[in-house]
C-alpha cells in the first residue's frame, strides 16, 4: 500500500455507499402508504404529551469533565508508551508520576462525591 490515508479515505467512501445501496433499493420496492396514525410517535399506545426534545437534566456533566481530563491524558500517554523501550527507567517513573497526578484528581473528585449519580 503506497498511500495509507488514501486507502482509508476510499474505505470510508465505499463504507458509506455499501449501506446506502440496500436503503435505496428498499425505497424502490417497499410500499409507501403513510397516514397520521402510523407516523405518530410510538409510545406504547398512548398519545405523547408535550415536546419530545425537552431539556434534560444532564446528571453526568461532572462525569463528562472527568472524562475529558482522562481522555486528553491518555493521548499524552500514547507517545510515552510507544517509546518506553528506548528510554531509561527514569522516564518510566516520570510517566508513573504523571499518572499519579491524575489519580490524585480522581481521588479528589471521588472524595467530593462527584462520582455519585444523583
Amino acid at each position: 500500500m503506497q498511500n495509507e490515508w488514501l486507502y482509508i479515505g476510499l474505505f470510508f467512501v465505499i463504507g458509506i455507499i455499501v449501506p446506502v445501496v440496500p436503503l435505496v433499493f428498499a425505497r424502490l420496492v417497499a410500499p409507501r402508504k403513510p397516514n397520521p396514525v402510523k407516523q405518530s410517535t410510538y409510545e406504547c399506545g398512548i398519545e405523547t404529551v408535550g415536546e419530545s426534545w425537552v431539556q434534560f437534566k444532564a446528571q453526568y456533566y461532572v462525569f463528562a469533565l472527568v472524562f475529558l481530563v482522562f481522555d486528553v491524558e491518555s493521548v499524552f500517554l500514547f507517545p510515552w508508551a510507544l517509546t518506553l523501550k528506548q528510554l531509561p527507567l527514569f522516564v518510566v517513573l516520570e510517566g508513573v508520576l504523571f499518572i499519579g497526578i491524575l489519580v490524585a484528581g480522581l481521588v479528589y473528585a471521588w472524595r467530593k462525591g462527584m462520582l455519585e449519580w444523583v
Binding site: I14, A30, L89
Partner: protein, 409 residues
Amino acid sequence: MTFWNNPINFIGYWLNGILTGWHLPAAIASILLYVIGIIVLILFAMTLDIGLVWVERKVVARFQDRLGPNRIGPFGLIQPVADIIKMVIKEDITPDGADKIIYNVAPVLAATSVIVLWAILPLASTIYGVDLNVGLLFIVAAGALGTLAIIMAGWSSNNKYALLGAFRMVSNMISYEIPMVIILLIPTILANTMSVRGITQAQSGMWFAILSPLALLIFLISAIAELGRSPFDLNEAESEIVAGFHIEYTGMKFGWFYAGELLHAFTFGGFIAILFFGGYGGFFGLEKLAVLTWLNIPFVQALVFIAKATFGYWVIMWIKYSVPRIRIDHMLAFNWKFLVPLSLVVLVNTATLNKVLIVLPNWLYVLGMFGSNIVIGYATIEILRAYGRKQRKAEKIPEPQAHTQEQAV
C-alpha cells in the same frame, strides 16, 4: 511470490498488469485496485455479517433452551436471507416531527463505523487492508463514530424513549472509553508499536493474554460496554424504554442497526484476538517446526483468525445472554470507582515491570508479568470484600452465611 503465500499482492500485480495494459495512467490504476480490494473486503465482511445473524439467533436460542431458526434451509441456514428480504420490502416509516436528515444518516453511519474497522483488521500476515501506524487510535475513533450514530438516531427520532436511550449512550460512552483507551496502552507497551499488525507479530512467541490477563478482562468489559450489549444495554433496554434509540426505525434502517451491532461484536471479538491472543499467528513458535509450516499459509492464518474472533464473539454472546442488565448508577460507579483505578494500576505495573524484568530470561519475565497480574487481581478482590464487610457493618446487614442443604430447602 506465489498465489499461496501472498494472494493479495499476486492478484494485485496481475490486475495492475491488465489495467496498465489498457494504457491507464499508473495513479488511476492503483486507485482502481484500491477500490476493487476495498469492495471485496467489505463484501466479505457483509457476507460474514449475514452468517452472524444466523449464528446469533441460533446461539441465543440454545442459551434460552429453544431450537432457533430451523425451517428455511438445512438448520435454518437460509433464515438470514429471508430476514433481509423481509426488511427490504417492509414499509419505511419516518415519524412526524423527526429531524429527517439526521434520522436517515444515523443508520448508515452506524453501519459505516463498523465497516471501516475492517480497513485495519489483519486477517493474515499478507491479507489486510492497511497497516496504519496509529491503528489503535483508529479503533477508538471508529468506535466513537458508532456512538455518535446512536446519539443521532436517538435525538432525531422525536421520541422520548429514543432520547432517553441516546442520553444513556452518552453516559455509557464517556465512562467506558477511558478504561478501554488506558488498556490499549498495554499492548502498545508490550509490542512497542501501535500498528495492529505489529501487535499481532509481537505475539508470535507469547500471547499478551498471558502477560496481562487483567488487561484482557478490562478490555472485554469495556468492549461490551462500547458495543452497548447486555449487561450494558441501557441504551436499548427493552423492558424500560422499549427499544431505546432505534424505537422508531423500521425496515432496512433498523436492519442496519441490527447488522451493525452483530458485525461490531464480531469485530471486537477479532480485536480481542489480535490484541491478546496473537491474531492470525501466536502459535508460540510452533509454526517454525518443519511439520507445521503450513500454519504460515495466509488462508490457514485467516481461518485461525476467524476461529479466534468467533471465540471472542461467542464469549461476548455468552455474557450477553447470561447476565442481567445493571442499573445506570451502578454502571457508572463500577466504571469510575473500579475499572478506571484498576486499569491505571495495571498500566503502571506493566510499564515498570516490563522495563525491570526484560533483562531476565524469557520464562522468568513471563512468570513475573503473569504473577504480578494475579497479585493485583487478588488484592483488588480482597479490597472489595473488605469494603463490602465495612458497608454491611455500617448498615447492620448480617454477614452472608454459607447455605447448607437444609436452608436451601
